[in-house]
């Protein structure tokens, strides 16, 4: 799947929510190797824009267009190309990390790969505990593993560093540095380090 040329385009996106205008006239076009940040003050709509790009919400006007080798991808198929995570994405509390990963991963992912990721994020030693007993930092790491493990072409992260300690951030940045040249990376964040990781971006304060 990585041989295909995936592009994601935002065309004049506008969102109004509860009678307030969040943003309008958002335009950009991204391809493999692009890393893009979305930033702005709290409440400016970063998470909303990211969810619109992921196909989870619909914009009030405008279009999001995914293309693979110049043919349009339908919104039902986005999940085949997309790894998304954010504070509203919650793995099942009653399951362990391995059970959650078994549930969400595609056939190409085997148990060894899951163990590898758990070790990378230092969650291997907690693998038999239910997610209910995880700290918020551990939960965040598990969320990131879920987004990364299927090796998606597009990676969308909403506040990836929230709740992470410095060690967690190091792990995350190391992995993102490795993969960002092969993927489209979009991060919604307020952290300057995240912004520095990206080659271009927008600020929703307007």
């Amino acid at each position: 799947m990585h041989d295909k040329l995936i592009r994601i385009e935002a065309e004049k996106i506008e969102k109004t929510f509860a009678k307030t205008l969040l943003f309008r006239n958002i335009n950009f076009n991204l391809g493999k190797g692009d890393s893009f940040y979305i930033t702005g003050p709290n409440g400016s709509g970063k998470s909303t824009l990211l969810q619109i790009l992921a196909g989870i919400q619909k914009p009030s006007s405008g279009n999001v267009i995914y293309t693979s080798d110049n043919s349009v991808i339908e919104s039902e198929d986005y999940k085949d190309f997309l790894g998304f995570t954010g504070p509203q994405v919650n793995p099942y509390d009653m399951l362990t990390s391995i059970e959650n990963l078994t549930f969400t991963s595609t056939e190409s992912v085997d148990e060894n790969l899951m163990i590898e990721y758990l070790e990378k994020f230092d969650l291997y030693r907690h693998r038999t505990k239910s997610v209910k007993y995880y700290s918020s930092g551990m939960k965040q790491r598990l969320r990131l593993i879920h987004a990364l493990i299927n090796n998606p072409e597009i990676l969308m992260l909403d506040e990836p560093c929230s709740n992470l300690d410095s060690k967690g951030r190091d792990i995350l940045y190391r992995i993102l540095d490795e993969v960002k040249n092969n993927k489209i990376l979009i991060i919604a964040t307020n952290e300057p380090e995240d912004i520095n990781l990206c080659s271009k971006g927008i600020n929703l304060e307007q």
């Binding site: 989870i56 919400q57 919650n90 793995p91 399951l95 879920h146």
Partner: protein, 220 residues
Amino acid sequence: MNNRILNNIKKDFLIESRNRSAINISFAFAGITTLSVSLAAGGVPFTPVIHAIIFWIILFFSAMSGLAHIFIREEEEKNSLFLSLYYTPEEIYLSKLIFNIILFLSISVIVTVLYLFFLQVLPVYLFLFILTVVAGSIAIASVTTILGAMVSKAGSGSSLFTVISFPILLPVLWTAISLTSVSIDGTGIQEYRNILFLLAFSGVIVSVSYLSFKFIWTEL
């Protein structure tokens, strides 16, 4: 796709088995209601029609207490976004439907056994009776799956669920009651045709629900 649906069902059973309170309460409700009826009746004999009516009312309210749970749990535990990132609405619908059918058939078995035992009823046409319970339970589970999904998005709980389920379940209840009454007292024609009616009803509801589930589940 079948594999993924199976995965989803396995996951639901796993979660429910770890935190058994909701399922336990559903079974307890079914058992307690049946016992309450038999105790309240105090040995007074019911006619077959009354037996049929009470039996299906117990099943109806047992369904109301338990069948919206698998959707409400996804909403309350905030897992719905997580789920929809990895599974299409159709896969989610089919797995929840199968889960509900299995759950409600189990509840029906318990209610049937307790009812027949404590109220000392033995249906004359036993085969028809069993078929009615199975077909009726499948029909109830089919309707309550899609309506449970709607109620879970509303967050109002089981009273809303009962209100919206009742009109849709009326044909099922009427048919099942008349079939059950015939099978208990052994008079009247055995209309197996009505079993087909129940199955046809389930089939139509499931098809329409399958096609329209995505409008409920995904927020567009």
